[in-house]
């Protein structure tokens, strides 16, 4: 009898093990700071959405684990000699998750939809380099006039207004992903719901419970499905960074894209190389309102900027989760050399002395202190930064008063060009090109919170926009940035970094300046 039980037990154990390995689907629980605003690629804008949509869809071109450009739905492309016409050859084997072939007309439809004013796409503006795009978005012409044409089922031609060297990089943004027309026609706005959504990427949408999780499952019809190892990826919104870290520690999350940076020293000590912190293409800056006295004086602006100790901000306030900034464009864009402020090389004491001298020349001193109102949106770190800056400017006789409002009030005021002296803002690159930063200071840009207007700067940006030679263009942009540094409409304070925590079980989660980590390139060992 004893032997019988022993045999039974052994048999059952083997059976369970066999069942276990047969069902061992690889699940990746991926912490993502916030839920997406939408899963409609044309209605999204944030990096949180980017992570999910990159798994669901394939644009013409995509990014690999290192954020390098790779073919996506297009297998190859050619560019005309004048740099204005791009011809894409689509993959013959690319299909949607419903089995339909991915055709050039899908892209024609998608680009037209993105720019159609009725779609009200936030990122429509990014695609204005396409011929006719701005006119369509302004309701001045019909979507059919857009410079995106299907030559045949698998050939797509996109015509631009000017050679735009960053065009391919731009196409990696989620706003340029295609959607399936049949799908939208059938379900209307509900096409994004689980069960409805048809996608052409490595994964398909299985579940979306707001504030709980988004479950994506591997798409067997994806052209490279054979090399996709993760079967299920659950995107879990982690608004509370401290709670998310505990969930990571408990093994409920395999990675998270943010950390409670105020505890960074302890976290580094505890988790070692599971913490991934490195520069990211983003700049944290203060903007002057340059059309308001006395901030219309470039000398004054430069003096204030010079006196701020970025090293202190980066090390003490941000615990090295940010890096000191002396240019507006962060380092890390291949082929571009940012123009850096010369005072970056001076010691802090020299900079303060120089700034004092300039302020005295301009007539400011103990009898006539410079008054400056500094506005920022509510956040503990923004507050600490502003208090530190207030303290740094005090020895110069600058009286800084702080005004703290919620994000919507803050940006509402900036957008309406309300009354402010200096205000906090930040910019994260949409694509790997200096233009994504420098265009902010072109006269009339929606995000030109400095209301900066310099014909010389605009002219250089204009020349760069029509320059087909990448090296020459890069030089023009660098010259424009040199003007920025001289005029200091913004005070670049810090460069952003990303702060991921990644389980040792994950491989292929590679550090890169865009903080892009497509799940299809990630592997997980148990």
């Amino acid at each position: 009898m004893k032997t019988f039980f022993r045999t039974m037990a052994a048999g059952l154990a083997v059976l369970f093990m066999a069942l276990g390995s047969a069902n061992a689907e690889v699940v990746y629980n991926r912490g993502n700071s916030a839920d997406p605003e939408s899963l409609d690629p044309h209605k999204t804008s944030t990096v949180y959405e980017g992570h999910i949509l990159r798994d669901l869809f394939q644009g013409l071109v995509m990014q690999d684990a290192k954020a390098e450009l790779i073919p996506g739905a297009a297998e190859s492309w050619t560019v005309s000699d004048d740099g204005k016409v791009y011809t894409f050859k689509l993959r013959p084997d690319a299909v949607w998750s419903n089995g339909d072939a991915v055709t050039a007309n899908d892209f024609v439809y998608s680009f037209q939809r993105l720019l159609n004013p009725e779609t009200a796409a936030e990122y429509a503006g990014m695609l204005y380099p396409i011929k006719g795009a701005k006119e369509v978005n302004e309701s001045k012409s019909s979507p059919e006039t857009l410079g995106v044409k299907a030559i045949d089922d698998k050939t797509l031609e996109i015509t631009l207004n000017a050679p735009t060297p960053y065009f391919l990089e731009m196409l990696t943004h989620q706003a340029a992903y295609p959607i399936n027309k049949k799908n939208v026609d059938q379900f209307g706005a509900d096409f994004v719901k689980p069960g409805n959504l048809v996608s052409n990427g490595a994964y398909t949408l299985a579940e979306f419970v707001p504030n709980d999780h988004i479950k994506l499952v591997k798409n067997p019809k994806f052209f490279d499905a054979a090399n996709v190892e993760i079967d299920v990826v659950n995107y879990i919104p982690t608004e509370d960074r401290s709670a998310a870290l505990k969930r990571y520690e408990a093994g409920e999350l395999d990675s998270n894209d943010d950390l409670p940076t105020e505890q960074l020293d302890e976290i580094r000590a505890k988790f070692g190389d599971q913490v991934h912190i490195a520069p990211y293409l983003g700049t944290y800056y203060y903007t002057f309102k340059t059309d308001k006295k006395p901030w219309d004086d470039a000398k004054l602006r430069r003096a204030v900027s010079m006196a701020i100790d970025r090293d202190f901000l980066a090390e003490k306030v941000w615990k090295n989760s940010m890096f000191p900034a002396y240019s507006f464009v962060p380092p890390g864009i291949a082929g571009y050399e940012p123009s850096v402020a010369d005072y970056g090389d001076m010691t802090q004491i020299e900079r303060e002395d120089e700034a004092k001298k300039v302020l005295a020349e301009l007539g400011y001193g103990p009898d006539k202190p410079l008054k400056m109102e500094l506005r920022f949106n509510t956040s503990e770190n923004h507050q600490n930064t502003a208090v530190a800056v207030q303290d740094m400017l005090k020895p110069l006789g600058v009286e800084v008063s702080l005004v703290n409002t919620d994000t919507k009030t803050h940006y509402g005021l900036l957008e309406q060009h309300g009354d402010y002296d200096v205000a906090r803002a930040g910019w994260i690159a949409d694509y790997k090109d200096p233009e994504t930063f420098l265009r902010l200071l072109v006269t009339g840009d929606g995000s030109n919170y400095a209301l900066y207007s310099n014909p010389e700067y605009d002219a250089l940006m204009g020349q760069a926009a029509s320059e087909a030679d990448p090296a020459k263009r890069s030089k023009l942009l660098s010259q424009a940035e040199a003007i920025f540094v001289r005029d200091t409409p913004y005070i670049p304070l810090l460069f952003y970094s990303y702060h991921n925590i990644v389980s040792p079980k994950l491989q292929g989660f590679e550090d890169n300046v865009m903080d892009v980590h497509p799940t299809r390139f990630i592997k997980k060992t148990s």
């Binding site: 605003e37 939408s38 936030e122 994004v192 504030n211 709980d212 709670a243 998310a244 994000t407 940006y411």
Partner: protein
């Protein structure tokens, strides 16, 4: 009684109307709008967005349109989460918040009530002092301290329960959030119960009951408790409305997909329709629970009559 309920129902309509109207305009006074963000929008794009959500219409027209939609049961789209209508967000989140809130309330009433009774019977004895100490601690330690402490203890140190997440509604995922929600309520209920029991035990009818030679148990349960429970009932009504409409702190820390976060998040995001929807839901529950309290009063206290 039925007439009373019907009267109350009809009197709730103007109350709701006032609440909706005031909230609508107060919300619009706040500077900024749903489409202001760190990455400023191109003016053409912003105009397209505002047109799509009719935010380019005059305010009075937007107000009338909102009222009209509301009368037809339409809470509108969420501006910030355009994949969902406000009604869809509530359909997904409200049952979760109700489950957690109702469980927490029941737990708080049972445990808090029992502790309060014990304290009142052992007045000025060690057990009374311990209940008072517990109750003071429970109502003064904020939720945002208790929740991470529970996570650290039961989620990480002992690893008995999940640190966060809803897990499709599994019991293990509910325990810590329910305890977190219940603790402060428990403390309040215990203190209320202790106070009203002491008062009730000193009243004339209890002295009479004791003089008549009734047993201790009968005096406490049948006579003292019945009078003492009234303040708890009036407290429990609004508390229930607050608990089942969710708590932003508990839901955020434990990653619970309830509706507690929508009020604050909606307001911060200027997601006008989401805020209005939340206001309507909270108002309806508050009115409903106040009505239930009044009905319970009449049932418990024979001196209260509505007809």
């Amino acid at each position: 009684m039925l007439g009373y309920v019907v009267r109350r129902f009809f009197s709730a309509i103007p109350t709701l109307f006032l609440i909706v109207t005031i909230s609508f305009f107060v919300m619009r006074i706040a500077p900024g709008g749903p489409f202001n963000q760190e990455k400023g929008l191109n003016p053409i794009v912003k105009a397209n967005l505002e047109r799509q959500y009719s935010l380019d219409q005059p305010l009075w027209k937007q107000y009338l349109d909102y009222l009209n939609d509301l009368l037809h049961g339409d809470l509108g789209p969420s501006y910030v989460l355009p994949d969902f209508t406000v009604a869809e967000l509530f359909r997904a989140g409200l049952p979760i918040s109700i489950q957690l809130g109702a469980s927490a309330l029941i737990l708080a009433l049972l445990v808090g009530g029992a502790l309060g009774v014990i304290a009142s019977l052992k007045q000025n004895e060690p057990s009374d002092y311990s209940v008072i100490a517990l109750a003071t601690a429970g109502s003064t330690i904020p939720t945002f301290v208790i929740a991470p402490l529970l996570q650290l203890t039961f989620g990480l140190a002992f690893a008995w329960l999940p640190v966060g997440g809803w897990g499709g509604g599994g019991l293990s995922h509910k325990i810590l959030p329910i305890i977190t929600l219940a603790l402060p309520q428990m403390a309040i209920v215990a203190r209320l119960m202790r106070g009203s029991m002491i008062e009730s035990l000193r009243s004339h009818h209890i002295r009479t009951a004791r003089a008549l030679g009734l047993s201790d148990l009968s005096v406490i349960v049948k006579h003292a408790l019945r009078g003492a429970i009234l303040p708890i009932v009036s407290y429990a009504g609004p508390a229930a409305a607050a608990l089942i409409t969710g708590s932003i702190i508990v839901e955020t820390i434990f990653s619970i997909p309830g509706i507690g976060r929508y009020f604050v998040e909606g307001a911060l995001n200027r997601d006008y329709t989401l805020v209005m929807g939340t206001v309507v839901v909270i108002a309806v529950f508050t009115i409903l629970f106040n009505l239930i309290v009044d009905i319970l009063y009449a049932t418990i206290d024979p001196r209260v009559r509505y007809d």
